[in-house]
Symmetry: C2
Subunit: 211 residues, 2 copies
DNA sequence: ACCTGAACACCGTTCAAGT
DNA sequence: ACCTGAACACCGTTCAAGT
């Protein structure tokens, strides 16, 4: 390990702090994040952070904000890559669960309740969260225009879908859904049931199809 | 505040520790739980706990175990009180979300990822978690016997339902579903969509019914 | 403007000692 | 068996001081 240099940190310390925090979260989980370690790893005093963030919570909030941005990008990419129709919607559902499973500690920071709803927090967190949700709303609105899903309130429908994939993701991360391929199987089943759940009555699979 | 008595704690200290921990969680959230405060509140040294629990994590685990037990009881009561059929199943879904919202900090201890899936933990935690899940499986099996839900694998179907209500509960606790009555509206909609989602094809509501 | 280093008020946990 | 009290190794945060 090189001796910490005595000069100021070069470039964007704020950026470096966010990256190092996320790397630590991936490596050791949220509990492993200490300002001392992060500072030491960047060759900087453990209080240098306070020039860029109000406190530790604000640093984690920054990590959460970037998580919502990455989630939205993963969802949009899956929707587009899947053809922006029924197949794209399924791809989006799978991408959501995969994002949560592949970035479980990061996902937990986003939804772990560290940023109390009542207490004041960065409006960017709400904005990025709403942005990820909007990807779902947009996709459902497109399906609705094609007559592929019910004519219900699209935000309510999107909340329903969000709750379902979020629930699967949370149970998977928590280890409540265990076994090889169990998460994938549940996701596949849930998306099937979502089709008969929110699909347009006129566009249901043949009644004879069982399972 | 009375002077702490110098004699041993009377009765069941283990029980008192669990009660005090839960009370603190309700009052101040999980972050407010410190062994020092709990000990002081019970008029006991802050290290007395180590005679009854391996460490702080084990105390929280005990709280989580009792949470799963209470959840199961709430679910079974709703199922029975609702008539053990379709109405009972809806009541169970509402009861699940209400339990999480009314006991949000407690619910977060149960599902907050404090008990790593890999690391060793009390088997009672798995057992009580499985018990709560079983309430769902039993109800679905009863509905299936009546021909009210699909002929799918009942555990897979139960996982799907669990993920949905768990997702609604988590979003509600996190403040992601905001507004007066929004949680109730989403729960109602989700249970409607669940009916067309997992309901038996032969038992669907009239196709003309919109919304 | 940006960072340091000492200090402060907290933690959970260990352990020899008491009854 | 059950609990205490001092000690230890950690925390996040504040603040006067440096460049």
């Amino acid at each position: 390990m090189p001796k910490p240099r005595r000069q100021y940190h070069h470039g964007n310390l704020r950026r470096a702090l966010l990256d190092e925090a996320l790397a630590t979260i991936r490596r050791e989980g949220i509990e492993g994040v200490t300002l001392r370690d992060i500072g030491a790893r960047l060759g900087v005093s453990r209080t240098a952070l306070y020039r860029h963030f109000a406190d530790k919570r604000a640093l984690l909030e920054g990590v959460a904000i970037e998580g919502f941005r990455a989630l939205r990008e993963a969802l949009v990419a899956a929707w587009r890559g899947g053809g922006e129709a029924r197949a794209g919607f399924r791809a989006m559902g799978r991408a959501y669960v995969r994002f949560a499973v592949d970035n479980s500690a990061h996902y937990r920071v986003m939804f772990g309740g560290f940023f109390a709803p009542d207490c004041d927090h960065d409006p960017a967190l709400d904005a990025e969260g709403a942005g990820a949700f909007q990807a779902l709303v947009d996709a459902l609105a497109a399906l609705q225009a094609e007559g592929l899903v019910r004519d219900d309130d699209v935000e309510l429908m999107a909340s329903h879908v969000w709750a379902l994939v979020h629930g699967i993701a949370m149970l998977a991360i928590d280890g409540q859904v265990s076994g090889e391929g169990a998460v994938e199987a549940l996701t596949r089943y849930a998306l099937d049931r979502l089709r008969t759940g929110i699909g347009a009555p006129a566009d249901q699979p043949a009644a004879s199809s069982k399972r």
